[in-house]
Amino acid sequence: MPDATGLELIGKELGKAVLDKTFFRERATLDIDPTAVRAVLSQLREKGFAFLASVHGVDYYPHEPRLGVIYELLDMRRVDRITVRVRLPTDAPEIDSVTPDGDYGAGWPTANHQEREVYDMFGVVFRGHPDPRRILMPEDYEGHPQRRDFPVGGEPVLFTRDEAQWLEARE
């Protein structure tokens, strides 16, 4: 982890794309502007955070903006980690995909499936993603089940063949 001072320095270098900096329990987090995600990740890669360890989503309900997309970056040489977080509203949850290469530099191929999973579970749309399909749920599934306002689902399960006997036996 960059220490608190290191985080300040990184935040200063990234400029106004950084909305907030958190250093909590030895964990450095940058809250950034969603429109700048590609640029910020490219800059961090140049600093040595060249490994995208994880992309995942969060629903911060009831806080607004509700959705979060979190990029965990790892510097393999210094064994240093940094977390990049963006927050998105539920009415327009769109963000640039970091999967493809582009004018900001090389993409992160590992983000391909993980962005698909975030889309599948939270409904965040990744602009420019090469294959923006669902990955876990069936393709005709409606809704995004990891959102907090999504019903948990499930159903009462009855072993209908024996149910009558059981009810009789219980009485």
Partner: protein, 219 residues
């Protein structure tokens, strides 16, 4: 006698009749060099002959013989869904040794299998695939739902899973999370008993699916 699928079987040509056995004895099948030592030099008749025949000849029906053969040689489908599959492998291992009962031939193709063990959780994305596997199996076929998830969705009773009963007929439910190999073995032996004792108590009767046979009677 009419079988469950409507075929009429003429047992008169199949059954070994006592009268023909009697004729065999009378005709000298047991005389001379072929005669057992304790019967040498004796001609048995009457009640003694009856007893002799009853001791040596087993009569049964074709249905029972077929059910006996089927129930002692299930060919399970080599198919695992989740953690229950680990326990399923163990039933084939040396400790439980499913081969003792004749069920060791795990087939890689549903066309060659007659028993599917749903070992694990079934997601709604997997359900149509399992249903297709089940439909590809040739009749007669049986299904065991292994573990809590497959029977009642268990701890995953949420948006992602579906219990196996909702999309295919299940003959035996094995409870547990996961069931130990001996529990699965117990379930398979329950299925053996079901097939032996009451082969007609198949899933069509229980699920009201009469008339959905691949080759209906008279076809």
């Amino acid at each position: 006698m009419t079988r469950s699928n409507g075929d009429v079987i003429d047992y008169s040509s199949l059954a070994v009749r006592e009268s023909s056995a009697e004729q065999m004895l009378r005709g000298g099948a047991l005389s001379g060099a072929n005669q057992p030592a304790h019967l040498k030099g004796t001609d048995i008749e009457g009640a003694e002959l009856e007893r002799h025949v009853h001791e040596r000849i087993l009569t049964t029906t074709l249905d029972k013989a077929v059910a006996w053969a089927r129930s002692n040689s299930f060919f399970p489908l080599a198919f695992g869904l989740a953690c229950c599959a680990m326990e399923q492998f163990q039933t084939a291992g040396p400790r439980m040794d499913i081969a003792r009962f004749g069920y060791e031939a795990f087939r890689a193709s549903p066309r060659q299998a007659d028993l599917i063990i749903l070992a694990g959780r079934v997601s709604i994305k997997m359900a149509p695939i399992i249903r297709r596997l089940y439909d590809q199996m040739l009749e007669p076929k049986w299904a065991i739902s292994m573990g809590a998830c497959c029977s009642s969705m268990g701890v995953f009773n949420n948006y992602a899973l579906v219990p196996a009963d909702k999309f295919m007929p299940i003959d035996v439910h094995v409870p547990g999370c996961p069931p130990r190999p001996e529990a699965l073995m117990h379930g398979v032996l329950k299925l053996r008993k079901l097939v032996q004792d009451d082969p007609d108590a198949g899933w069509r009767e229980r699920y009201g699916a009469a008339g959905t046979e691949e080759a209906p009677a008279g076809a």
